[in-house]
Amino acid sequence: MHGFFRWSSKWWPGVIPLVVFWAIAAWTSTGPLESDLAARSTAALKDTVLDKSRVAVAGRDVTFAADAFSEEGRRSAVAAVEAVPGVRLVNDETRLVPEAKPFVWSAERDVVRVTLSGSSPLPASKGKLLEAARAALGGVEVVDQMNLSRGAPPRFDNAALLLLDQVGKLKDGKITISDTKVSLSGMARDLGGREAIAAALKNLPEGFSVAANEIKAPPYIFQAYKDPVAVTLTLTGYVPDNSVHAAIVAAAARKFFSEKVVDNLKASVGAPSGFAAAVVPALGALSRLSTGTLVVSDREVKLSGDALYETAPAQIRSNLVKDFQQGWQLKAEISVKPAAAPVDATVCQQLFSELLGKATIRFVSGRANLDPDSAGLLDRLIETALRCPTANIEIGGHSDGDGENAFNQTLSEKRAQAVMEYLVKAGLPAGRFTAIGYGSARPVATNDTDEGKAQNRRIEFVVKE
């Protein structure tokens, strides 16, 4: 034993090469050791759910910083790093992801992009939301401004995914979840989009409720354009259903006797109430213009164009407003077409015959009240009468052969009288006209067929020199 101490006192010279070894070992191994430990630590964290995870190694000490989503997750992540073989110490710089209160998430759509912002509960759900947004909005740029926060309400992902689907139905607007309250604002892309979104909101996961739904529907637009050059009436826009569609097209065909009706209407839900009741008279007003446009946008009716004579604009305006239901508005910009050049009596007669050859003045059946559908024709007759101011005109009323002669006689007289009154009201001097009823005495066709009878029921304009 004594010898052992003697020998050991002489072991010191070997320490000098040992120190050299040690210095070389430290010099060459520190870098590889650190990167090896960093790789192992990162691998150990692979299955943990963390945000902003960062691992720095100095010697065998690991500095580990990360945002965890629960205290339990945070502890298990630190333990996983501590368990890596070779790690001496873990400097724990982890913390919990801040809790958002209230937990607010929103998706905002403008013309070119969709911005997702606010809080998202986990990296996985954030990714899922982004992916769903890209899928639901094919081609639209999706901007991610979401943070990760704790405190999401249960079933948040399902609610957000459902709402992302609705973003696709918006032209612009914003959908927000604040805790369990959902609020929506903006403009639906299509007619009916508002209703579709409202229906989808009924499927929100349990616990979520709609605090405010201020989605607006795009305006319900109906347009009619009377083109005097192409002699067409073009109808575009929306109608509530097929029966209203048919009624409007039939009314247009009656009111526009010389124009061809081009029907580009589409059926869609979302029409304001009283749509047909407003559009039909508005088409009547348009038929009295030489050229014009009718735009019905929600409950606003815009009529612009040129009337045929001085007193017509005021008449058109007041008649139309009378027909409107409550809540409907008229914006009329009607000017008067410059008067056409005067013509002599013969030409005037020709023009009358031409007009009355295309259409007849209609009356309410069995009575002497003018049918509103004939307003366009009457305005053209007035315009023609104004072109030959010196000519005197006989307005002849004719009936078909049905019924008693005395009744027919009186009816034809009254009808001729009604036409004359209409012309006088338009500003023509009463002295130029004589209204005569001929009853069924001067048929132009056989009274044996309905067609012939229809031809016989007529008003004739005869220019007297």
């Binding site: 050991s8 006192s9 002489k10 070894f21 040690w22 520190t30 070779g86």
Partner: protein, 98 residues
């Protein structure tokens, strides 16, 4: 420790062999040994370093180098002890034979 052993086995083996060689030589070495009081001080220093390493008070790279140095030193001493003991056995065997 296992990790360090597997990572640095080459250096550790080198320390052990160096110790063995030194131990082998020390038995017949005629030079000056370390005096007793100095040896005591060195032992205290070594104990302090071991305590520091076990308490993990030296941070970062320095802590790692300390660990590495102590392990290499420990294996060196073990090598020395084995070397000296074997040489002694060999010498005493010769002596008996003589």
């Amino acid at each position: 420790m296992t990790y360090l052993a597997t990572f640095h086995w080459g250096w550790l083996l080198a320390s052990l062999l160096l110790g063995f060689a030194m131990g082998w030589i020390a038995v017949v070495h005629r030079g000056q040994g370390v005096s007793k009081p100095l040896a005591r001080w060195l032992a205290v220093l070594a104990a302090a370093l071991v305590a520091a390493a076990l308490a993990r008070v030296v941070p970062g790279r320095a802590g790692y180098w300390l660990d590495l140095g102590l392990i290499m030193f420990a294996l060196y001493l073990a090598g020395c002890a084995v070397g000296s003991w074997l040489r002694d056995r060999v010498l005493s065997g010769h002596a008996k034979a003589a």
